[in-house]
């Protein structure tokens, strides 16, 4: 199981329901094949750096998921067929996925917001999403680490 992210661009003037339908369809492809959809991020309308199909702007959607190569080929096959997709791209983020880490990344988002002053559990959750920050977070005090990380996310 690997971690991938797929970005696809649809027409900017597509109605909201159609975009939701597309997202549902593609996430179903992933979940039907034992993949896990980690995050769906609708970036919204953006100006394209160059015209695609004579379109100056497009609607970007990012799907962050965990799955196998078979899922990627199937997903890309479907994206290629669809008329509503201007362009798509899949990027591998991680070669191996630790399911425990993944669960903690997906769930504690709710917990993190609620229990921010709590020191010990927060340290763990803060260290997991960002591996590069982990030694720093453990080395210093517990309280400043989550605070500084959330600031980075805002930027």
């Amino acid at each position: 199981m690997r971690r991938y992210e797929t970005i696809f661009i649809t027409y900017a003037d597509l109605p909201e329901e159609d975009i939701n339908g597309l997202v549902a369809r593609y996430s179903a492809i992933i979940t039907d094949r034992q993949g896990i959809v980690v995050k769906i991020d609708k970036w919204g309308k953006r100006k394209l750096a160059y015209e695609i199909n004579k379109q100056p702007r497009g609607f970007y959607v990012l799907i962050d998921f965990v799955g196998t190569a078979a899922i990627v080929t199937e997903l890309e096959r479907n994206l290629r067929i669809s008329d509503q997709i201007l362009k798509y791209m899949t990027v591998k983020i991680l070669d191996t996925v630790n399911l425990q880490d993944l669960e903690e990344e997906m769930n504690p988002r709710v917990v993190e917001e609620k229990v921010e002053p709590a020191s010990v559990p927060d340290q763990e959750t803060a260290a997991i999403p960002d591996n590069a920050e982990a030694p720093l977070a453990t080395g210093e005090g517990e309280a400043p680490a989550p605070g500084s990380e959330s600031e980075e996310e805002v930027e």
Partner: protein
């Protein structure tokens, strides 16, 4: 620069331009990330024409330059960065 003024030397005007020491932006600030999804951060490593700037101009280190080029190329693929910027457009 390092050579002190010599009285015997004929007084040719010294070259005026001053080089600001280049440094790698990403080595300096470890919180910065090279991400193809943030074209704003990559804009400064690209010329007005959309070409990737060489290391001798941007000043980034070899390691980060490699990451920057890959990120720019990914951004180009998904229309976040331009392949070319046409003249007069």
């Amino acid at each position: 620069m390092a050579i002190p003024e010599r009285a015997t030397r004929d007084q040719r005007p010294q070259k005026k331009f001053f080089h600001k020491r280049k440094f790698c932006k990403f080595c300096n600030d470890s919180t910065l990330k090279i991400e193809y999804k943030q074209p704003g951060g990559l804009k400064e490593f690209v010329t007005e024409r959309g070409k990737i700037m060489p290391r001798r101009i941007s000043g980034s280190c070899a390691k980060h330059q490699r990451e920057i080029t890959v990120a720019i190329k990914k951004g180009r693929m998904i229309a976040l960065m331009p392949y070319v910027v046409a003249e007069g457009k």
